[in-house]
């Protein structure tokens, strides 16, 4: 395709923009449809399907959830707890290890590096871990299993190490001359300087814990400590089950009462809503963190 030397290629520009807009629609549209369906009445959904703006706006879906499920409140509490505890503890644990490893004058640098690196390439596998946690540590069916094993994350720690390594040695030297202890240097100088790194890792951690479901699926035998995502999945499975077996007495009653689609969409908003709302505010840090990490290699 020969183009006019000084003119702009309009076809290319148009198709380029079109593609990007379509892609944006593909990423945003599902969410709009879900939000709209969650605020719609069941009859509107049955008659018109998924719409951009609900034909009949109601809070039925949400009301139903609030009334029939204190499971949801519980799941919320649990998920918030493990997210908060997990993020803070993991961040501390990883930062505390990342800092010494970034210091060139750390005596045991090589040994510790090797020690933490090995588990990233060799692992016992899921079976021994499962046995360890259920049989020997008795952590199955407790709330601890949802975040304690996940606290140590070497790749995140290495990312933090990169951030710490950017702190000029002279700064630390100066502090030492002033008589500061290692602890003081860590808390008062190093940590504040890697705020972007901490924020990035924190976002990843929050995401990880908030969306946690696999550990719950694997280790929870009862419904006592279920996370939000797992609850969502179970409810959807039950809805499916009810739908396919309307001849089961109670199911029939429930199925008739329940604004099924509105409820499932509301469930999605309830579980995903917080992350989707919070994320745009942190996008700046997140993007910075990723690009720094990728450029440094």
């Amino acid at each position: 395709m020969k183009k006019i030397k000084t003119g702009k290629n309009h076809m290319a520009i148009i198709s380029k923009n079109l593609f990007m807009i379509l892609l944006l629609v593909a990423t945003v549209l599902p969410f709009i449809l879900i939000i709209s369906a969650s605020f719609s009445s069941q009859s509107a959904i049955d008659n018109y399907g998924y719409q951009l703006i609900p034909k009949e706006v109601t809070l039925d879906g949400y009301k139903y959830i609030m009334q029939t499920s204190d499971q949801i409140i519980k799941a919320y509490v649990i998920t918030i707890f493990i997210t908060a505890a997990g993020t803070i503890l993991s961040l501390m644990m990883n930062a505390m290890a990342a800092y010494p490893l970034s210091r060139k004058d750390f005596l045991y640098r090589r040994q510790v590096n090797m020690f933490v690196f090995i588990p990233t390439i060799i692992s016992g596998g899921i079976v021994p871990t499962y046995i360890l946690i259920t049989k020997y540590l008795h952590m199955a069916d407790t709330i601890w299993v949802l975040f304690v094993p996940a606290l140590a994350n070497v790749s995140r720690m290495f990312l933090l190490r990169t951030f710490f390594a950017n702190i000029p040695d002279s700064l630390i030297e100066a502090a030492k001359i002033e008589g500061a202890s290692e602890m003081e240097i860590f808390f008062k100088i190093a940590l504040p300087l890697v705020k972007t790194g901490l924020a990035t890792v924190a976002i990843f951690l929050v995401l990880q814990f908030w969306n946690e479901w696999f550990t719950a699926l694997l280790y929870m035998n009862s419904n006592k400590y279920i996370t939000l995502q797992l609850l969502l999945n179970r409810i959807m499975e039950n809805l499916q089950f009810l739908k396919r077996n309307p001849d089961i007495g109670m199911a029939q009653m429930m199925a008739m009462d329940m604004p099924e689609t509105a409820v499932s969409n509301a469930m999605v908003i309830v579980t995903a809503g917080p992350t989707l709302i919070v994320f745009p505010f942190f996008q700046k840090y997140f993007v910075k963190g990723i690009t720094v990490g990728s450029v440094k290699g």
Partner: protein, 292 residues
């Protein structure tokens, strides 16, 4: 003192990573829950024999590796493509808007992606089937047909993850010296030529590096993707079952410790070998890169 700071992490690694390593012996035993790890009888390679002979094994390894390769290739191409497009936007605010939108799917869990997929593929209410019947066709039982799933998984994987990779490549493009572009423009280069001769060659090292490093993870699949999006529909296991989903079912549903631990060990060992190889290759390509 500095060492003290490292202690919590190291203790954790010992408990949750090093100790389970001992458990690899389970793969060589006929595990009995009552007798435990050390009391169960030794059966040597029996578990592995059984595993390698089964059709299942071939299928899950093929699926795991196959999907990973497809995901890596499509992932890189698509992310680079979108990053270049983003770079061509004139206004900063446009970039922000697109970036935010593209990033949205990254923040939801696969459970929700499965929900969205179901909106499309449900037999009665799905959007796809509604469109098909409107045009006079027969509704398709998506969750029971094998052939569309590789495409469904690939698209789902792209949709959810491209935001993240795109940002990485976009960041790399930002780092390219603007003077190169200026000089080329003065010489009369068009946008297309700028992309072909400057942007892409300069992105290649990063793309190649990331690809090589991704290869090291080729034995592992994203469990949630395959388990949830397919609704764990047994009829399509032929194309949806990967090592991780197989392991999960063996562990939770059939309680078959012997086979699952053999599979697990295989996955770890193969994974380890791949990491070593990919690391060597990465090191040869760019000396500054090394995991070690």
């Amino acid at each position: 003192m500095l060492l003290g700071l490292c202690v919590p992490l190291m203790v954790w690694l010992v408990v949750f990573n090093y100790i389970p390593m001992v458990g690899v012996i389970i793969a060589f035993k006929n595990y009995n829950n009552r007798l435990g790890m050390f009391g169960s009888p030794w059966v040597g390679m029996k578990n592995f024999e059984y595993l390698f002979k089964s059709q299942d094994f071939f299928r899950i390894v093929r699926n795991t590796i196959g999907y990973n390769i497809i995901f890596i290739i499509t992932g890189v191409i698509f992310a680079v493509f979108v990053a270049i497009l983003l770079n061509s936007l004139k206004r900063k605010i446009s970039v922000k808007i697109f970036q935010t939108g593209y990033f949205l799917p990254f923040f939801i869990s696969w459970v929700i992606v499965a929900f969205i997929v179901q909106l499309l593929l449900d037999v009665d209410k799905g959007i796809l089937n509604s469109m098909i019947t409107t045009f006079g066709g027969e509704p398709v039982f998506w969750y029971q047909e094998k052939y569309p799933w590789p495409f469904i998984f690939t698209i789902a994987n792209l949709w959810k993850n491209f935001g993240y990779s795109t940002i990485m490549y976009y960041g790399a493009i930002m780092n390219i010296d603007q003077e190169l572009y200026e000089a080329a423009k003065i010489d009369g280069c068009t946008e297309g030529q700028l992309t072909r001769y400057i942007t892409i060659p300069l992105l290649m090292p990063m793309a190649v590096m990331l690809t090589i490093l991704s290869v090291s993870g080729i034995m592992r699949g994203d469990f949630s993707l395959f388990y949830y999006v397919s609704n764990d529909s047994g009829m399509i296991y032929e194309v949806t079952d990967i090592i991780d989903t197989y392991l999960f079912r063996a562990l939770r549903k059939t309680g078959d410790m012997g086979t699952s631990s053999a599979v697990g060990l295989f996955q770890s060992v193969a994974g380890f070998v791949l990491v070593m190889i990919s690391n060597k290759i990465a090191h040869k390509v760019d000396e500054n890169t090394a995991l070690i």
